[in-house]
Symmetry: C2
Subunit: 110 residues, 2 copies
């Protein structure tokens, strides 16, 4: 890490920041998902937020959107090859987050 140049942590936060994108990534790491699947998996997400963030992630090249020309329409979202480079990032972020939650839990229990 180089402390002279601009901090690129910001870039990651820009791409993955906000309330919903990490959740979407999280579920797509496991497997490709349809719009409705994600809606069910992510409690309280509105359709608007879901479609907006999926579009953002698609624009960044992280998510692939595959449309099957069927009726009713079928659209699948999956991590792109590039998106898969985020898996190790998600892993350390999750590991830290889990530990932090545990710590807070133990703190509140004492």
């Amino acid at each position: 890490m180089n402390h002279q140049r601009e901090c690129p942590v910001e870039t990651l936060i820009h791409v993955l920041g906000g309330k919903w994108k990490p959740m979407i990534l999280w579920h797509l790491i496991e497997s490709k998902k349809r719009f409705n699947d994600l809606e069910k998996l992510i409690p309280d997400v509105s359709q608007k937020m879901l479609s907006q963030h999926l579009r953002d992630l698609e624009r960044e090249g992280i998510v692939d959107r595959t449309v099957y020309p069927a009726i009713p329409p079928k659209v699948e979202y999956s991590l792109s090859e590039y998106g898969r480079t985020l898996i190790p990032v998600a892993e350390v972020m999750c590991a830290w987050g889990e530990n932090h939650n545990k710590r807070k839990y133990e703190e509140s229990a004492s």
Copy 2:
């Protein structure tokens, strides 16, 4: 990673999200800093945001705030022992961010 439970990436984003906290972390990884140092190192940050986010990070136990009872007041901010657990996280986030920036640069150049 466990996809049944709640995604803890959110936790990390909660702790480190927003525009300024990653920057503060970034500079404190290098060495402890005073309020004014951070103000100079982080362009465009307002005093309000700086003090607010330093306080947030302090409350989360990530940053230690040391006050020297001198006049003019001297306050030093440093990563706590717990805060140092974020260093590996920052490293992978930075690495990904740098790569992403490079990719976007090459994309726009072509």
